[in-house]
Amino acid sequence: MDTIKLTIDQQELEVPAGTTIYHAAKKLGIDIPVLCYMELEDWNIENKPGGCRICVVEVEGRHNLAPSCSTECKDGMVVKTNTPRVMNARRTVMEFILSDHPKDCLTCPKSGSCDLQDMAVRLGVREIPNEDIAEISTYRLDTSPAIIRDIDKCIMCRRCETMCNDVQTVGALSAINRGFESVVTPAFEMNLEASPCTYCGQCVAVCPTAALTEKDYTAEVIRALSDPEKTVIVQTAPAVRAALGEEFGMEAGSLVTGKMVSALRKLGFDKVFDTDFAADLTIIEEGAEILDRLKRSANGDENVRLPILTSCCPGWVNFFEYHFPNLKDIPSSARSPQQMFGSVAKTYFAEKMNVKRENMVVVSVMPCLAKKYESQRDEFKVDNNPDVDYSISTRELAHLMKQANMNLNKLPDEDFDKPLGESTGAGVIFGTTGGVIEAATRTAYELYTGKSLNEKVTFEQLRGWEGIRKAEVDFDGFTLKIGIAHGLGNARKLLEEIEEGKSTYHAIEIMACPGGCIGGGGQPLHHGNASILKKRSEAIYREDAGKKIRKSHENPYIKELYEEYLGEPLGEKAHQLLHTKYFDRSTKRQFKI
């Protein structure tokens, strides 16, 4: 039977076989409340443990209530979504959930954007029976440089577990214990920092409560801004401008680059720069590296390992350091744009401004939580002074602006400061899946073939939404084979191919988060709505299309930087400031006793 006829709240409808009651009701405009259920349709990601029991409905002839999120429609089914029995059950279950949840909403970081809070409001919970005798399960707070786990607030929706294990295949989190004591934690309830967590932040992005939140650095940023001794400069990642508007009620996909710049300037940053500048720089270094390896390989050098992997995503870097340490010499040694920016800012630019390193504070605004961790890595510190002092997320920037009484909608458009604010279209598309490799291709093509792409700078075959994509680019007779993966689970598949010696790619771009940076763990919450991510991506490509310069190697300030300061790509100075090395962190998992 292909279609199924059923009745929901006295309305008849037909749905395809396999449709759940929840989805069928949605077609009728009946919005059954769901809490643990989460769906990212385009990536086949579904979290459906049937655990919260908030979405229950009455089905005629069934002795108990049915969870609508996971009950398939059957022919002739008669469903009621709003009987007193259902409403009483929903509210009572909600009371159960709240009875084991801290009531510190006023100071909770998730207040106002908390699914649980919204649901309590929606179901009209006013009181929890016998609250005085209700034990609340309590656990230790875990603070890492990027993510805070306050699992007293865990409601066992299992979304984080799904993201961490099924989507990202990181395996840092699992449900532990059973019954009232059960929660989701790393192995042995160790800190995230000791676990194989990559800080990709996808768990934070889907957590309905404040059980998982980002480590908030806004207070530190305000303190730095208020310190007259400090020169505080800021860099903003490409994906931020395509999503920040959502925090101020704008349509998804609104581009707010200019308004964001003026907001940052009003917040008191001495210079407002663009991470895109560093993205262009990354392309120069990474592009040179790709060409170098390709040429050496073509000349029969057997020590060259291919494919080369991109290295700008810190979640991804963490991932291979833990899970594939034997491949650690394959990724490009180029630092990520955030870190390239930091090291250039605290050397070249600090010298230019005549500011001492310790008096310069570099803040980054990122769509990402792993960037917080990356900025704290020892490799990126000089005399214990980090190249990037504080990394805040898109959400944190929005908070900061709201604290400063700013309404993004009302702000004028302004331009980035020079020189580190000048960027090309290639730098912008770093924010979406396939963008980095497209930017690299634009440059590599011209350098390899010696021919100009002219107006034809886009490579449509590199764009798209599939988790793993393969594409070929004709380099004037030489076919460059490119792989793209977003989401670490997809990355794992490509890495396993490499391990098994089956990989035929020359270069692979990997982004830890589904969709790339636009879907990062620090972005405004998309609540599982994939169309939001698509709109953000479109915005990124729109910005690229509107740029005068669209190839990194044509960025005039990049040229100037090399001429004035760095010398040659892959040269000694560049190597010192713009490259890094990777570590085998799998041993970290073993217990230090």
């Binding site: 294990n165 699992s174 790393p186 192995a187 217990f591």
Partner: protein, 163 residues
């Protein structure tokens, strides 16, 4: 769940590897592997779980999630004389609760604890199937039936002078 920190010796690690190999490194055999490992070591501290996680290519979080789910697995070593009280329904109805209270008092242990000297540990069981003997207390493999709170001291005294 609290664990005891241990340093695994190379032959311990080899033993775990041997068990994993015997199960073909199948992730689906995790529970059987845990059973055999616990049988050998007496308990499953984090370090052992780490090795199993490596060998079976299962995340340590998952191994820990499984270990903490099943009451049969323990991360603390049992005492040399593990005392177990049956708290099945038949034993409950015949007064197991009072017996348990008395044992807690006598041993100065809570359920799930092991004494500092490693001599006794206390746990509860659900129905050993000797309902005719209810309430039932086990010390190691030895079964004591129809135990009254007053009998507890006598039972424990049997082990007083043993090591």
């Amino acid at each position: 769940m609290t664990s005891v920190k241990v340093k695994l010796k190379q032959n311990d690690i080899d033993k775990i590897k041997e068990i994993c190999a015997a199960h073909n490194y199948e992730p689906g055999e995790l529970i059987n592997v845990l059973h055999q490992t616990q049988e050998y070591f007496g308990y499953l501290p984090a370090e052992i779980q780490e090795v199993i996680s490596w060998e079976l290519n299962v995340s340590a979080a998952k191994v820990y999630g499984v270990v903490t789910f099943y009451s049969y697995f323990t991360m603390t070593p049992k005492g040399r004389y593990p005392v177990s009280v049956c708290t099945g329904t038949a034993c409950y109805v015949r007064g197991a609760e009072n017996v348990l209270e008395e044992i807690k008092k006598q041993l100065d242990l809570q359920v799930g604890e092991t004494s500092d000297d490693g001599k006794y540990s206390l746990s509860c069981l659900r129905c050993v199937g000797a309902c005719g003997l209810a309430p039932v207390v086990l010390v190691g493999d030895k079964t004591y039936g129809r135990v009254a709170p007053d009998d507890v001291k006598g039972i424990i005294d049997e082990y007083k002078d043993k090591d």
